[in-house]
């Protein structure tokens, strides 16, 4: 399971980096989304993988920490998901506006020589 997830993180990050290095704005949007999946999973995995142990306490709230999943990376990733959404939206709009302004969807705003 660890190996699977680690491989997945690597593949997602690699695909994301590849796309980020490409010249078209749309490739950048998709690439950053893939990168953010990879990074979110990476941060999440820092709390180690637990199956069937959500960080939701039982009735009355009593509990031993070892019985639950680590809530801290989860809280971080939750924030990251929302902020990631916001930045993707912003990037998309900037790219669309730039495309309208320059007529090109190249990341430099003009076709490369």
């Amino acid at each position: 399971m660890e190996l699977t997830l680690a491989t997945a993180i690597g593949v997602l990050a690699g695909s994301g980096v590849w796309l980020v290095l490409r010249p078209r704005t749309y490739q950048l949007v998709i690439g950053l989304s893939l990168l953010s999946y990879a990074v979110n999973l990476f941060i999440f995995s820092m709390g180690r993988l637990r199956v069937g142990a959500a960080p939701v306490l039982g009735e009355g709230g009593a509990g031993v920490a070892a019985d639950y999943a680590d809530p801290v990376p989860q809280a971080l990733v939750l924030t990251a998901i929302v902020i990631g959404f916001a930045t993707t939206a912003l990037l998309l709009v900037v790219l669309i506006a730039a495309r309208g302004l320059t007529g090109s969807d190249h990341v430099d705003g003009r076709e490369s020589r």
Partner: protein, 974 residues
């Protein structure tokens, strides 16, 4: 009392400069009075300090400035500082008197005096500083204020170039000086001048002596315009003449030799000092005089002569003998006197005859006899004619040059160079007198020349009289003051010297005679040639100036272009490549140092379903990467596939909150990108050009970077996951979530309670992003090829038009008819779902974020179902109010706890029994979460509808374009 005088000398010029700029713009006379009075007061204050200074003990005045850095505002006046302060304020006063008649009423006089007084103040600061760092500060101030003064006539290209060159050279020198001073401070352990002057042996024997010396000399030689940095000084003559007179005599170039004299006791008397300064001084002495002969511009001649005379002083200082130091200090004074008068006279000639070109001037003596006489006397002093002050210091110089100081060829050559330099000085002095005042006057001057007003001539007269008096009775006039200055530098080493005019028939006298005769003969022989010379013989082509300009071009143009090409922001891809490579390197470096090991920790399961799930996810990711260029929709769908797998992973691995949020965010992101796709250009695989080898290589390099990043991420995350978790703050949160936060969903409690402040910041960012998106799209102009309707719609319209049974646009209107009805009916359901997610958030998976995005998805569904126009006719959403209200609610909830005397965002909770719904947690954190919810709804909806709204704008743009074309067509036909 003395202390007040001392500090006033520094402070007054700056205050007066600021006052001058506050005067009305036409106040030429008041500004002159102000500046003149300031310089006069400085002079009087300086003179009043003479009794204490002459007693031998310096006056000190000290205020702590930054004591932790050893930086005090220390003023210190000893004999050398006193004589320089007298020179600066005295000549400054004369220059102000002269300026009154020189500067035209059209020139901005207030600005002139502001710069001038600041310049005088900084120069006084340099000589009176008792702390080396403070000295450097004033030193740089002189560079800046001289830059402003040289560029005073900034409409003139030559003035701007000269000013820039002067600043570049002297400021580089100033930075070097700062570095040198820091090294000296490091050696001595203090920047205090007294401490530094007391530790000469420590400095000279230190291993850091050579770098410190090199840096300090770089500063002083650039300032004093010594070879090879001499070229800025002739270019600085584009300054107004009063400025030149001041700059060449008492200030600026004198700052360099002043500092060398100041540090002479601690830095001199070593081989390095001797060779560097000896060479620089000797070359400047001869080369400056040589080039001065060839100048056709009177100010140019004087400027090169200054280089030559400062070379003489530098050479004297290099010798390291106390007698030479006496001669150096004496010559500083003498040079200041005759050079200031000559520059002011040059200004008078320029002013009265309308030119200062030596070729055009001739026979001026019959028009300006008094000025002519004064110039002749001053030139004679410059040439070193007996009975004038220049002669005395030159005799001392010859005497020192002849003596042997060091076993080096530089020392052997020195006397010959001295005689040669002096002979050339005689030649250019004769040329100056002869070509301007003697001979036949030309038929006409640019202006009819006549004597200037008395007070314009007065400063020249005063200084020339000083030359004469000092030259005839040195012992009675300058003697005691010089002695005070010299003994403040040399201390107990002060030698016996005689200032007498006549020492008998000695070798120096013979050298003087030789120089006078040789110079006169040279002029007799080559005078006509010099008058016609376009450029100097021999050294005309080797110019420091040209090298400087080439270096400047290389740095500021070619270098900048190169750096812009490599690191510029015009091209994103190289930057991203650098960034990715740097990130990989930063990640790999610690691993390379300490190695990477894997642990044995694990969840113990090898789940094939999970592996299959991620098999799909990875294929989706790679395929999305592959397809993103030509098949955007496919790439988006594939991206969604990866997103879903991620979402399922969160459920699988005990993170229900993340799964819920990821799911709704996934939906909204997909919709958003779908809406954006419309505005991108068409791109077809069919148009793909064959790739060149370079292109392939580039792609291969990118692939290598991507693979390296992927492998690195895999290795690191696997390494972390296989190690047992350390004790973290997670335990604290799990223990306290219910008892202190009143919630069982620990993640949610962390977000809205424990780390509530972070969340507040985060939702603020979200709001800002949404408003930015909105603002960006308000001014959106689609690219021309996107204005038309999309291809599909055009096909539908044309088929509508062909079919008599259908109205135009009916197909588009009926599009997704059944799903859109379902979507409209689902709206209340989505709202209830959002409410449900929100209410259960504190105890079970859900919460403000997920609920907010779900609610926004409900809104956007309506846009998709009914179209923008339909929705906006029926529903007023006002997302900006949602954003503002949500942020306000969250912040106010936080602030409410402050009313109860608790810290910001401290939460309070209890449970409330609501009819029908049942027991509900009523924590103040829930209110906070409501704020989060409101903001997320507002922000998401704002972004979505801002971009969805563009479809209407597109129509308007297309309509406007059509109308424009119709109008044009009509115009063409009518």
């Amino acid at each position: 009392m003395e202390f007040y005088s001392l500090s006033s000398i520094i402070v007054l010029p700056f205050v007066a400069g600021l006052a001058a700029i506050l005067l009305p713009s036409d106040s030429r006379t008041p500004a002159t009075w102000l500046a003149g009075a300031t310089m006069a007061i400085c002079l009087v204050l300086t003179l009043s300090l003479y009794p204490s200074v002459s007693s031998g003990d310096p006056i000190r005045y000290r205020i702590e400035w930054i004591p932790s850095l050893g930086l005090d505002f220390t003023l210190r006046m000893d004999g050398l500082a006193w004589i320089f302060a007298t020179l600066i304020s005295g000549i400054g006063f004369l220059v102000v008197v002269y300026t009154r008649y020189y500067i035209s009423p059209e020139d901005p006089v207030r600005r002139f005096y502001l710069f001038f007084l600041a310049f005088a103040g900084s120069m006084l600061g340099v000589v009176l500083s008792g702390n080396l760092i403070l000295l450097v500060v004033f030193w740089e101030l002189t560079s800046i204020s001289s830059f402003l003064l040289i560029g005073y006539w900034h409409h003139n290209q030559a003035a701007r170039d000269g000013a820039r060159m002067a600043l570049t050279i002297t400021a580089i020198g100033g930075l070097a000086l700062l570095a040198g001073v820091l090294i000296i401070g490091h050696i001595v352990g203090s920047y205090d001048l007294d401490a530094v002057l007391g530790s000469g042996d420590a400095i000279r024997t230190s291993g850091l002596y050579v770098p410190a010396l090199l840096l300090v000399l770089l500063g002083t030689l650039t300032k004093s315009a010594q070879f090879p940095f001499h070229f800025w000084l002739p270019n600085a003559m584009a300054a107004p003449t009063p400025v030149s007179a001041f700059l060449h005599s008492a200030t600026m170039v004198k700052a360099g030799v002043f500092l060398m004299a100041r540090l002479w006791p601690v830095l001199s008397d070593t081989h390095e000092w001797f060779v560097i300064l000896g060479l620089a001084g000797m070359i400047s002495l001869v080369l400056g005089a040589y080039l001065a002969m060839f100048q056709q511009d009177l100010k140019g001649l004087l400027a090169y002569s200054t280089i030559s005379h400062l070379g003489l002083i530098t050479l004297l200082l290099s010798l390291g003998s106390p007698l030479a130091a006496v001669a150096a200090i004496f010559h500083m004074l003498n040079h200041a006197t005759f050079k200031a008068s000559l520059f002011m006279a040059a200004g008078i000639i320029d002013h009265e005859a309308g030119t200062r070109d030596l070729r055009k001037l001739s026979g001026l003596f019959r028009f300006m006899p008094i000025t002519g006489t004064l110039v002749m006397v001053a030139s004679a002093a410059m040439a070193g004619v007996p009975l004038l002050n220049g002669f005395l210091s030159k005799e001392m110089f010859f005497a020192e040059a002849v003596r042997t100081h060091a076993d080096s060829w530089v020392d052997t050559v020195a006397p010959y160079a001295a005689v040669l330099g002096s002979a050339l000085a005689v030649t250019y002095s004769i040329r100056l007198i002869h070509s301007i005042f003697l001979g036949v006057p030309p038929e006409s001057f640019p202006r009819q020349p006549h004597e200037p007003p008395f007070w314009m001539r007065f400063p020249v007269m005063f200084l020339v009289v000083a030359c004469l008096v000092v030259g005839i009775i040195p012992g009675l006039t300058v003697g005691p003051f010089l002695h005070v200055a010299v003994s403040s530098v040399l201390g107990p080493e002060t030698p016996q010297y005689s200032l007498a005019v006549w020492h008998g028939f000695t070798l120096p006298l013979a050298m003087s005679a030789l120089a006078l005769a040789g110079g006169a003969l040279l002029y007799l022989g080559a005078g006509d040639y010099l008058e016609r010379a376009e450029r100097p013989l021999l050294f005309g082509r080797i110019q420091g100036q040209r090298i400087f300009e080439q270096v400047m071009v290389a740095i500021s143009w070619r270098g900048a272009r190169f750096i812009e090409d490599v690191f510029g922001t015009r091209r994103l891809q190289p930057q991203m490549r650098l960034l990715a490579a740097a990130a990989i390197a930063a990640g790999a470096l610690p691993l390379a140092v300490s190695g990477l090991g894997f642990g044995a920790h694990g969840s113990g399961q090898a789940d094939f379903v999970f592996a299959g799930l991620w098999g799909t996810g990875m294929v989706c990711a790679v395929a999305a990467a592959h397809q993103a260029k030509f098949h955007r929709l496919a790439a988006l769908v594939l991206l969604g596939g990866t997103g879903l797998v991620t979402c399922m992973t969160f459920i699988w691995l005990s993170a229900p909150d993340l799964a819920a949020t990821q799911l709704v965010v996934e939906i909204v992101t997909t919709v958003l990108i779908l809406l954006g796709l419309r505005w991108l250009p068409k791109r077809s695989e069919a148009l793909l050009e064959p790739r060149g080898i370079l292109d392939r290589a580039r792609r291969f390099r990118d692939l290598a970077i991507a693979v390296a990043a992927g492998v690195g991420m895999t290795a690191i995350s696997y390494a972390v996951m296989t190690r047992p978790p350390p004790a973290t703050i997670a335990d604290f949160f799990i223990e306290k979530a219910y008892s202190d936060g009143g919630g069982r969903n620990v993640v949610n409690v962390i977000l809205v309670d424990f780390r509530g402040f972070d969340t507040l910041g985060e939702i603020t960012v979200l709001g800002i992003v949404a408003l930015t998106v909105f603002a960006l799209l308000r001014r959106f102009r689609p690219a021309p090829d996107n204005i038309e309707r999309p291809e599909q719609q055009r096909i539908q319209w044309s088929s509508d038009e062909q079919d008599p049974d259908r109205e135009a646009g009916a197909t588009a209107a009926d599009y997704l008819y059944v799903p859109s009805v379902i979507m409209q009916w689902m709206f209340p359901v989505v709202i209830v779902l959002a409410a449900y997610l929100f209410l259960r958030g504190h105890d079970a998976p859900g919460g403000g974020f997920a609920a907010g995005v779900a609610m926004a998805a409900g809104f956007i569904l309506q846009y998709m179902a009914g179209g923008t126009v339909w929705v906006e006719d029926r529903l007023r959403i006002l997302p900006v109010k949602w954003i503002g209200g949500g942020l306000l609610l969250a912040a106010l909830t936080g602030a409410a706890s402050m009313l109860a005397g608790k810290a910001f965002l401290t939460s309070y909770f209890s449970y409330a029994e609501l009819p029908l719904i049942g027991k509900l947690p009523m924590a103040s954190a829930t209110l906070f979460d409501l704020g989060v919810f409101g903001l997320v709804v507002g922000a998401t909806v704002l972004m979505l509808i801002a971009i969805a709204h563009q479809s209407i704008r597109r129509l308007r743009a297309a309509r406007l374009e059509e109308e424009r074309q119709t109008v044009e067509e009509r115009r063409r036909w009518s």
